[in-house]
Point group: C2
Chain length 379, copies 2
């Protein structure tokens, strides 16, 4: 399948993902289309609910583009939720006003696990339609990132039925019945792979796996129950998109800094980091060398790094934001500048989603500081 | 000041804290006196409230000893709360039924920070009386651990006014007004040092600093706003207790695994770890060598390690608990066994407080597995 989309005008993000030299450090923000923007709240009010917003192609397109109108961001990300896949499995996702997500059914016993299947992608057509619509609306301005929750992160919500502060139920299943947990994670991994591949076919130019809850696992359990199934997803992903371009893969494990060396073996291009990890140390561990040549697989190769400023910096005055942006860029150090070689690169981002309480003008200060200081770094 | 307490019958915990060889790996559990025990709930019902329990010397003594009646634990820990110090500063601590702690006042502006002072220890006399009462009631059975929240962790609650999932207010103060945050942390550090020294005078045989929220900080901010003030506490602590014995110091930063090398410089004897950190890696980083001799200060010397099983393992059947205990003990590896030398040691614990939903009989399985497998390791 090929599609005719407008040529890309700003490929900085995609180049950095592939460890290619760029004139500045690209920046986008997790949850950049969100409640901190009054225009987002206005669209959501029209839609009536979060799922009303996410399932309507026009609304999803509108809110995805809103932050790009305000800020010179270097990438767009599909507006959707990480829990669309278990919803399509029949668990019944809803968002009560002012609360987090909740499933009508949870998955805690042998019968519930046995009933799980990779869902029919037709149930997720609204997502793929949104991807195509957004890609068209972007008109080549910046690349579009598709995404999914990781198999383990989806499992957390599926077993708990909602968010949790102790992950008691999902860990009870994992420790008491690892056989059931493995079966659940296999279904999730195959579903996530199909979901991301269908997003790629619909026009996504990069894909990101959000392992939001990998960091709650014990050392040992993380490798077995989260990392192995992220790898199972990656092993099934298409390498190129509808326009024949490489589709970079980003893996972000919140709280995963201790396991970076394990994550280096993932067949992905970019590792996302939260603010607890020093970027210079991460670069030394997994950032690779200049000139390291890509083979058929990314496994074990140097990774681009994405992150990792604390989103709470956005509550400080603009001068403090700029100073912290400088500190974070400098902690990564000078990105390589040889356009004939691959080498260490950073994609600037927050270490977690932007807070709904963020003053929108502070985001301008952050984006401006990333672009200006990262240009200065290269001079 | 000297006091006449019964001689210690089981010094395994204190020996392991000081990196001395022991016949088994000592074990105690964070929050071991707690709601998972029906006898605790009965005492709490008599007391009427959590603070009613914590401020009554007889009740506090009773609940501290309850887990020792059920399990052959190697240490007792004062029953109290980490927020007694800010309560004594006049912030008004309360615990609503089924909810976490809450302060009547919070500390978010220049005036509120300026008003803070190291509290009169007379306001905390109920804590010191409990320490003495518990020490007497223990009658030399096992050592008694005193404790406090870390300066940063206390600051989190003082600024937020309650628990938080994003630490928005405390981080706003930190990023926007670092001068105020430093002043707040100085007061906290001096208050915590005085509080722990008074516990030592009252009979505490080891002290632990709970940096429960250090792990929410960004790399860089952790060193500046948490670690530096933990060090300020340690630098003021007495080295010996009322009976002339060394009082080991334990520092536990939840989520602090990435900063272990920074923490090695702390003037403490033991570092606590949560379950995300591999104990073998931690031992290689900070566990020190056999024969490393202590100087006047612990700063930079090898540390004993405390931890680090996931408390959720206690929801699995006893056989799975025993298998995971074995895995955790083996991840640390063989403790040194030369009684003429110091060397790497472990104190077994959970990586966080025990859940209120834990079946009490599963704790028996855990303690039994620690004692039996750690004896087998030494054969």
């Amino acid at each position: 399948m090929t599609a005719s989309y407008a040529p890309l005008q700003n490929d900085t993000f995609l180049r950095a993902c592939l460890r290619q030299a760029t004139s500045h450090t690209p920046v986008w923000l997790m949850r950049q289309a969100g409640r901190y923007l009054p225009e987002y709240c206005a669209t959501r009010a029209k839609a009536g609910s979060f799922m009303g917003l996410a399932t309507n192609v026009d609304y999803a397109t509108e809110v995805t583009l809103q932050p790009l109108e305000r800020y010179p961001l270097d990438a767009a990300i599909l507006f959707s939720d990480i829990l669309t896949v278990p919803d399509a499995m029949g668990l019944g996702l809803s968002f009560a006003m002012g609360e987090g997500p909740r499933f009508a059914k949870n998955v805690r016993d042998e019968a519930a696990v046995a009933a799980l299947q990779v869902p029919d992608m037709a149930k997720l057509q609204y997502v793929f339609d949104a991807v195509t619509s957004i890609r068209k609306a972007l008109n080549g301005r910046v690349p579009l990132i598709g995404f999914s929750g990781s198999p383990w992160t989806l499992a957390c919500y599926m077993v708990e039925g909602q968010g949790s502060d102790d992950y008691r139920h999902v860990k009870t299943l994992m420790y008491a019945r690892p056989d059931l947990m493995h079966r659940l994670l296999q279904v999730n991994a195959d579903a996530v792979a199909l979901y991301l591949n269908t997003q790629i076919d619909a026009g996504a130019q990069a894909v990101m796996v959000f392992d939001s809850w990998g960091g709650v696992l014990a050392d040992g359990a993380f490798q077995q129950f989260s990392l192995a199934y992220t790898e199972r997803v990656l092993s099934q992903l298409k390498r190129t998109g509808v326009d024949g371009q490489v589709v970079p893969r980003i893996v972000f494990t919140k709280g995963g800094g201790l396991w970076l060396q394990d994550m280096k073996a993932l067949d992905c291009d970019v590792l996302g980091l939260d603010w607890t990890m020093n970027l210079g140390k991460a670069r030394a561990l997994v950032g690779g060398e200049v000139g390291e040549v890509r083979g058929a697989s990314m496994s074990g190769m140097g990774k681009a790094l994405q992150g990792n400023i604390d989103p709470n910096i956005l509550f400080a005055p603009p001068a403090a934001i700029a100073a912290e942006v400088t500190r974070v860029l400098d902690s990564f150090g000078q990105p390589h500048t040889d356009i004939t070689q691959s080498g260490p690169t950073q994609i600037f981002n927050l270490g977690h989603g932007i807070s709904q309480y963020t003053p929108p003008e502070h985001v301008s200060a952050l984006v401006e500081a990333v672009h200006s200081h990262s240009r200065a770094q290269r001079r």
